[in-house]
């Protein structure tokens, strides 16, 4: 208990936050790493996931591959990559993308698959081609699950980006490792609390975005699109089980 109080005390001192190695700078670095890693994960995994969901092909391979990627210990992967690429941001980025891409991928294909087959067939019957079906029907209706995948990935990255400091980059891991190595638990706990705070902030931002999008006509949200309701719930249950 006293450790937590000391950590809060430390967080309330101005010294902890200011300066080139202070918590402000480290938090911004941490957020930047998160955004970059999330961006790369999205660029790689979103198109793949949408393609798998749209064509209904390759789902088995995707599940096996993402399962294997998730099982890799991130610290081991980080060290291994760093031995090849040297210290800096490359190694943590590779490790974070490997960690986060499976969630984005699963969200994307589950989102597309959650769209009621009757709706898709109706769109085709109207004369839409494959691309139009994907961009005008499947993505808008599957958006809640696609966003859930990104949301999950963002949280995983924020929690794990602390490892960047292991190989010479910045972020809140700097304070975390310093506290850990010198048994200065107030610093370690304080930095952890800031990581938790960042995670809550980002999660809330995602939650608000999802809520706002639900109000946009034509985009699906739970309860707002009864035709997709049961299926998307079932798929969501599958995702959680994964």
């Amino acid at each position: 208990m006293s450790n937590i109080l000391e950590a809060l005390n430390w967080l309330l001192t101005a010294d902890a936050w200011t300066g080139p190695g202070g918590l402000w700078v480290r938090s911004l670095e941490h957020l930047a790493y998160t955004l970059i890693a999330l961006g790369i994960s999205a660029v790689i995994a979103l198109p793949l996931g949408l393609a798998i969901g749209h064509t209904r092909k390759g789902r088995g391979i995707a599940i096996v591959a993402t399962g294997a990627a998730r099982a890799l210990p991130t610290l081991g992967l980080l060290t291994l990559v760093a031995l090849v690429t040297g210290i800096g941001l490359t190694a943590p980025m590779v490790a974070l993308v490997v960690l986060a891409a499976p969630s984005v991928l699963a969200g994307a294909y589950a989102g597309v698959e959650s769209v009621n087959q009757a709706t898709v067939d109706a769109a085709r019957a109207q004369g839409m081609n494959g691309w139009q079906v994907l961009t005008r029907v499947e993505i808008p209706l599957g958006l809640p699950l696609i966003l859930s995948g990104l949301r999950l990935a963002a949280l995983q990255i924020i929690a794990t980006a602390t490892l960047a400091a292991y190989v010479g980059a910045g972020g809140l891991g700097r304070q975390l490792f310093l506290g850990l190595q010198t048994y200065d638990y107030s610093v370690m706990l304080g930095a952890s609390l800031v990581v938790i705070l960042l995670a809550i902030l980002v999660d809330t931002a995602f939650g608000l975005t999802q809520r706002l999008l639900r109000r946009v006509p034509g985009l699906a949200g739970p309860g707002k699109a009864p035709s997709t309701g049961t299926r998307s719930r079932r798929v969501r249950a599958n995702m959680t089980a994964n």
Binding site: T79, A82, L83, G86, I87, G88, A165, Y166, V167, G168, R174, F177, L178, Q181, T182, Y183
Partner: protein, 301 residues
């Protein structure tokens, strides 16, 4: 709420029990004689070289028929020192300067003699240090041979004036007496820390050799210094205190056991320590095999 209460009570009870088991405070104090039969507990840091030294002590004692118990690979100083003080560990290979600075951060002692003298005064009752070995293993400021030649470097102060210097070191380096502040105060060297969290291991060496950093904090007994053709910068002001290997022992270590440890330390020179480390790093040999070979070479088995 009720379950929380139970949990708390349970945890406290468990903690109380475990603390009794470890220290055994009633048996320890008065009855040293009765414990002669019990094994001496040897600890080591979570550092391969330290574990090899601990293994040397263990096997040398065993060869004399003294029973030992191994408690190796314990995190860092802050954790295991309390174990030594509580009597849970009887023998621990330490490094002179760092060990003194743990007890007295402001310590004035600079030479090995001053350090051992200061340790005798500051160590809590019941603990003492034996004769230090010639071998040292200390944080040292290391550069590549090319960088040393380009900038005409032989000692740390030669780094002063070079701009944008970076050093790869563990994060705790920032707060150590020989960290950036100490470098600035003593040698006028301005340097920023790039944290590479593997204690001078392969990532740190790699960062130095590939030019990501100009300087690295690598232990002086690291075999990589020779194999990668690195230059250790001299430290004439002794910013990093001498880190000779010396065993910290409890009262349970009697004269016979101490004599065995002294014999091992007398044979342990810096060259010998580096060659022990090389066997562990290059040949991936097990600490106990490395120790057994060395002891038989030295005729101490």
């Amino acid at each position: 709420m009720k379950t929380t209460g139970l949990l708390v009570t349970g945890t406290i009870a468990a903690l109380a029990l475990s603390s009794c088991g470890g220290g055994d405070p009633l048996a320890d104090g008065d009855d040293a004689e009765a414990e002669q039969g019990e094994a001496l507990v040897i600890g080591s840091q979570q550092y391969y070289s330290n574990t090899i030294i601990a293994e040397l002590y263990a096997q040398a004692l065993e060869a004399e028929g003294i029973e030992v118990e191994r408690e190796f690979d314990i995190g860092q100083r802050e954790v295991y020192v309390s174990e030594i003080e509580s009597g849970a560990i009887d023998i621990f290979p330490e490094y002179a300067g760092n060990f003194l600075q743990y007890y007295d951060e402001e310590a004035e002692a600079a030479t090995l003699e001053e350090i051992t003298a200061a340790l005798e005064e500051t160590l809590p009752e019941g603990l003492r240090v034996l004769e230090p070995a010639e071998a040292t293993d200390q944080d040292s400021f290391v550069v590549t041979a090319e960088f040393a030649e380009e900038n005409d470097l032989t000692e740390i102060s030669d780094l002063a004036g070079i701009e944008d210097l970076r050093i790869a070191a563990n994060s705790e380096f920032e707060t150590r007496p020989y960290g950036p502040e100490g470098l600035q105060d003593v040698y006028g060297v301005e340097i920023s820390v790039v944290t590479v969290q593997d204690s001078g291991g392969p990532l740190t060496v790699d960062a130095l050799v590939s030019g990501d950093v100009e300087v690295a904090d690598i232990y002086s007994a690291d075999p990589n210094i020779e194999t990668e053709n690195l230059v250790v910068l001299e430290d004439p002001e002794e910013l990093v205190l001498p880190q000779n290997v010396l065993p910290v022992v409890s009262e349970r270590v009697d004269e016979a056991a101490a004599a065995v440890l002294d014999e091992v330390n007398a044979a342990l020179t810096s060259e010998e320590l580096i060659s022990l480390n090389t066997q562990s790093v290059d040949e991936q040999a097990d600490a106990s095999d490395v120790a057994a070979d060395w002891l038989s070479e030295q005729g101490l088995d």
